[in-house]
Amino acid sequence: MLEIRNLAKSFGGVKATNDVTLDFPDGSLTAVIGPNGAGKSTFFNLITGALRPDSGQVLLDGVDLAGRSPPEIVRHGIGRAFQVASIFKSLTVQETMLAAVSADQRSSAVLHKRFPLPETRDRAEHVMELLGLAGKRNRTAATLSHGDQKLLDIALALVLEPKVLLLDEPTAGMGPEERWRMIDKVRELWETQKITVVFIEHDMDIVFKIAPKIVVLCYGRILATGTPDEIRNNNAVIEAYLGTEHAGAAA
């Protein structure tokens, strides 16, 4: 279980994350929403070690990971994908997967053997199949379509077999149809892999349709948490968010 306790981070005078306390039970699927600048990405960066929190705790199965380095946090089982696909542009899909498994098996500093190591193959193969990238295994990452690059980014996180998977806008920059394909994929992964998934999403239709639990952030604070119905009927949320710029989406 991932427990966030009183997490806080300020940039100058701006409280980007302000006393956030949340629980993500094992195997849960949670959407994080909020207007631009609500501190969603900062929240992810604090959990994954990209930023050091000013105070608070990030407990994964009781171990406090707050303020540790990204490699350490990844090794404890929190994987992430990025808003802009963060991949290795000159490696092929297959090489990317194999190298990531090598990193996870702590053989990324091995000098005397040839790449790829035989013991990395099964896991790489499995995740490529899972995300439908197996047919594109020999494509250089830079030549993949935008959607496939996002999938590869998720594959990179998934191949490490994390306990918790954080997806920062998996559908960013996609057309409507592609969005649904991607989000179906995310839901399928969550159902089959039995991992805890937390994702940031802007599209309200998607959020209300697939997320059993929603967290609304606003100015670094938690505005509301609950099921889609609870969120839809929450006055504070309607006031701060849905009632204004996203009226159309909520309707």
Partner: protein, 339 residues
């Protein structure tokens, strides 16, 4: 075995075999290359040709080691020549002052290089791009001025004079020109083979990941700083080997070996040959030394000619020669398949 498992076993087996196969292929190519080079003295008595190959060995080791940093890791060092100079001076001084057997001096020099490279690397590899480049350059100048000013030990601007003693070992007498030639070729081939292994190992792919996207690599659990430091030290070792070959060849060591221009030459070589293939710097070495030797024979303005050639590769082709050739071949192959 289910059908699915059978299918997977089929796709796995060839890959497992091919990794081993690639290694044997590399060793085979190395053996053939060594056999060809080693048999050269049988066919020609030309001392100039053998000298040329020895110089190619020294520079080839040096330039290929820089490619581990530039091409594979994306670390553009402007001071890599310091380890070339360090190798030449350490080896020369150990032989002159202590009179140890050559293999012992060789290993001792590598140990000294590793220690100094680890200290300098620990400071430098944290820095990004241009800062890394300039701080490595600063360390190069530091070593160069140390050599110049510590004249009682290093001979100052005169260099290590009086020749480097070359006592025979295991029946190898490096004072003999052909023996020196064979030994240089052997060091070159072994060095290249070792660097090739580094480049194709899991660590080599870690380096590629760091070059492409260091932040993402750290989110996969890779300690980027440690990997960069490791390759910095490894590359220094091969540069130092190149320096030792050079010291043996000229039987001395000179401050120019540690001057920043030697780093510049290695960067030139990498630009000429290309950094996207393993052998690019080796091709670049042969090109640069050929150019140097022929152009200086015709004109005293060889700097201008070399500059124009560099500009041609940098602006005209926008890549090194071997990059260009391999791309051309893959285009042709694709076109052939398309038909």
């Amino acid at each position: 075995m289910t059908e699915l498992e059978a299918g997977r076993a089929e796709t796995l087996a060839p890959v497992r075999g091919s990794a081993a196969l690639h290694r044997y292929r590399d060793v085979l190519i190395a053996l053939i290359a060594f056999a060809v080079l080693a048999s050269l003295p049988l066919f020609t008595g030309s001392k100039a040709l053998l000298d040329f190959v020895i110089r190619c060995s020294a520079y080839g080791l040096f330039a290929s080691s820089l490619n581990l940093l530039v091409g594979y890791t994306g670390l553009t060092s402007f001071g890599h020549g310091m380890f070339f100079g360090l190798g030449a001076y350490s080896f020369g001084l150990i032989m002159q002052k202590l009179g140890l057997p050559i293999p012992v001096a060789f290993v001792a020099t590598l140990v000294i290089t590793a220690i100094i490279a680890a200290v300098i690397g620990a400071i430098c590899v944290r820095l990004k791009e241009i800062y890394f480049a300039f701080v490595t350059l600063a360390f190069q100048m530091l070593i160069h001025s140390t050599i110049l000013s510590w004249a009682s030990f290093t001979g100052g601007d005169q260099g290590l004079r009086g020749g480097i003693p070359r006592p025979a070992f295991f029946g190898i007498n490096l004072a003999n020109h052909v023996h020196l030639y064979i030994a240089s070729c052997a060091l070159l081939i072994l060095g290249l083979l070792a660097m090739r292994q580094i480049a194709q190992s899991p660590f080599g792919y870690t380096l590629r990941m760091i070059r492409d996207n260091a932040a993402r690599a750290s989110f996969l659990g890779i300690d980027v700083w440690r990997a960069k430091l490791t390759v910095f030290v490894l590359a220094a070792l091969f540069a130092s080997m190149g320096g030792m070959v050079m010291a043996l060849f000229v039987s001395g060591a000179y401050p120019e070996f540690a001057y920043w221009t030697i780093s510049g030459e290695a960067i030139f070589i990498n630009m000429l040959g290309g950094v996207s293939t393993f052998l690019g710097p080796m091709v670049g070495t042969v090109l640069l030394l050929l150019l140097n030797d022929t152009v200086t024979r015709f004109t005293e303005y060889h700097g201008i000619v070399l500059g124009v050639v560099i500009l041609f590769f940098a602006l005209g082709l926008r890549k090194g020669l071997l990059d260009f050739v391999t791309e051309w071949f893959s285009h042709r192959r694709d076109a052939g398949e398309g038909r």
